[in-house]
């Protein structure tokens, strides 16, 4: 049976070149980058190269890229580090209702520490209104954190407009964006967009798990959460995860080339999927943004009357891997906060599944999916609760 992996928003398989590079690095680059001898120097060079590739991919200067253990740590560092540094200047932060749990839970911790947090609503497409931001902002606002692409429905926030608005009117407010889902799929220009802090993760772009970055614009006030040997410009101490960094660097380098060459490969596959599903499974409903407007790699659909988890397992038995809502939250039998925020009715929200693509899918396999979905839906529908 052909295996079709459509859970790329949860994580992606390694690109073969990345895997080879990681294996090479595991064997050869064992020196501690802080060591003064030749082996240490070699490791340090690898890190420098990787940092370069990533800086190039996100259009920033090389000394503003800080390696972390992943997206969650990058988000924690951004939110906790800036609020600590800005404690004396204010008491208010702004975010949205549809952020990743690593942002929402960090803010709820900050609330318990006395911070005031505004959660902006989104429309039925999952997009915030700039006016709501303007109304929410206060004299004591120190931080705005708005994710770029939502991981569950693929809604894209107008972060360049938000960033430019903030820089023009509130230059002291720090602007953070979680770009874990957009890295490598949408080209990022944090400098032009007025972004101070930007989080990204390796394993969403075919690098290993356990490596991420925080872009920190020069001069952004940020207090480290982790004290030690002063690695990563003192912002993130600890001996570097060299294999992760090397893998991330290689992936960034390759994706930088893909993005030029195969700019619309992913969105073409998504459109084929949308077209195929609307013809073959006409009762399917798309959740979130219009497919042309949302992220190129995420499609969230529901079949009314069917539970997402059951459909997920039937699809799995036919070799197609998807997820329900966000993979991180599927352990809880709880309606997704994102679908709730876009006003999806409960029957729709319970049935939501997410199909997400990457460069490693191909059109040929994507064209098989609508029929497999039809077959699976029929199989589940025969036995639903009377």
């Amino acid at each position: 049976m052909r295996q079709i992996y459509l859970d790329n928003a949860a994580t992606t398989p390694l690109l073969p070149e990345v895997r080879d590079e990681v294996i090479r690095s595991l064997t050869e680059d064992f020196g501690n980058p802080s060591s003064l001898h030749r082996l240490g120097l070699q490791s340090e060079r690898r890190i420098k190269d990787s940092r370069n590739s990533i800086a190039q991919l996100i259009n920033v200067s090389v000394d503003s890229v800080i390696f972390t253990s992943g997206g969650t740590e990058a988000n924690n560092l951004a939110l906790l580090g800036t609020t600590r540094a800005r404690r004396r200047y204010g008491n208010h932060c702004i975010t949205t209702q549809i952020e990743h749990s690593s942002v929402l839970n960090t803010f709820s911790y900050l609330e318990s520490e006395g911070w005031d947090v505004s959660y902006l609503p989104v429309d039925n497409q999952g997009v915030v209104d700039l006016k709501d931001l303007e109304n929410a902002i206060r004299e004591d606002t120190v931080l705005v954190s708005i994710g770029h692409v939502n991981s569950e429905i693929g809604a894209i926030q107008p972060i360049s407009r938000i960033g430019q608005f903030l820089k023009a009117n509130y230059p002291d407010v720090i602007f953070h964006s979680d770009a874990v889902q957009s890295l490598g799929r949408i080209s990022l220009k944090p400098v032009d967009w007025g972004i101070d802090l930007l989080s990204a993760s390796g394993h969403k772009v075919h690098a290993p798990k356990g490596i991420g970055i925080l872009y920190v614009k020069k001069g952004t006030p940020l207090i480290t959460l982790q004290w030690g040997g002063g690695q990563e410009m003192g912002i993130r101490s600890g001996t570097e995860n060299l294999t992760g960094i090397v893998g991330f660097g290689k992936a960034a380098q390759l994706i930088y080339q893909f993005m030029d060459r195969e700019e619309d490969k992913i969105s073409k596959m998504k459109m084929a999927l949308v077209k195929g599903i609307s013809e073959t499974v006409p009762d399917a409903v798309i959740n979130g943004p219009n497919p042309y407007e949302g992220a190129p790699h995420i499609l969230n659909i529901s079949i009314p009357g069917i539970r997402g988890e059951t459909l997920l397992h039937v699809l799995e038995s036919h070799g197609v891997y998807v997820s329900t809502g966000s993979a991180c939250s599927s352990r809880r039998t709880k309606i997704s906060h994102v679908l709730e925020a876009i006003g999806a009715p409960i029957q729709i929200a319970e049935g939501a599944i997410r199909l997400s693509l990457s460069y490693m899918n191909d059109l040929e396999e994507i064209l098989l999916v609508p029929d497999i979905l039809r077959k699976s839906v029929d199989q589940v529908k025969r036995f639903t609760r009377r």
Partner: protein, 388 residues
Amino acid sequence: MEKLILVRYGEIYLKGQNRPFFERTLVDNIKKVLGNYDKAKVFKSQGRIYIEEIPVERAALDALSKVFGIIGINPAWKTKKDLEYIKNMLKVIVEDALEKTTGENPTFKVESRRADKTFPMGSMDLNRDMGAFILQNFPQLKVDVHNPDIRINLEIREHAYAYHENIPGAGGMPVGTNGKTTLLLSGGIDSPVAGWMIAKRGVRLTAVHYHSFPYTSDKAKEKVIDLCRLLTHYCGPIRLHVVPFTEIQQELYEKCPDGLLTVLMRRFMMKIAEIIAIKDGAQALITGESIGQVASQTLEALASTDDAVSLPVFRPLIGMDKKEIVEIAEKINTYETSILPYEDCCTVFVPRHPVTKPKLDRVRQAETLVDGEALIERALEGVEVYEL
């Protein structure tokens, strides 16, 4: 002088002729849970089990505290049967006891037993002389013969043994001394507790779980495997049979009256479990049912499920409240795993209005609407077996 662990066992004293068999089984079970300590020597002598050449550490004591048939565990010291040696040993023990005792002026008592009657001093003399010796050396201590903070036991046997700590054992009887039964394990809170209670009476377990992929995820199966592993700490090795159940549920759903689905499903579960039990050499079935907990646990429904099989069905939780069951689940460490929220097969094909008082003849009649034998045969062909 060296450290060792003394194990005291209880109920098996009562077993007259069977006593050597019970003791042998207990020694074997102890050896099994101490498998990681390959140098440890486990042997019995004069109504005690001795574990020597083992580090007396938390992990070893924890493992022992889960072995059925043990009533008490004592981290102990042993030395030569010579008064000077014994006094040195007592010093070490009192120091150890003082480290573990809080309070300003702790009280103590020496309780001696002279099993070796060739030893020149009697137990009363030992109590008095050793007590005096301790008082001399530890002036902060006081004697209290009724309710002491520190109770020092001194036993004169092949060697002189002493201990002050008594860790309660799990009680019950050694697993393997009372036959074998088959546990229907759903993955909820109740069934692991039911299995634990029967195993406590010395009964070996095998387990059956019904899996309804794709209506339940493979994570639900993983969870049942984890639960079984947790039970093995008490019950010894368990053979788990995972039975594919989807087809049976679908057939019942399409062909039988909606209100009877649950009771019919449970009858199939019992029948399949019985076949597996007999193949495994088990002599009874165990379920986690308690009266009235859900619609399938009314007296009528229980009678309907009993009717499906001829092996005895044990329901050790039958008269317990949920709260009492949860307390045991927490004690035996299965609760946290049990409450992980994966859909289990009982929640998928649940009728909106289950018949709470099913009439037996109607149930039997409804069952004829499907080809039960063929369904059971196919389910048995798909069984996965895990030796845990």
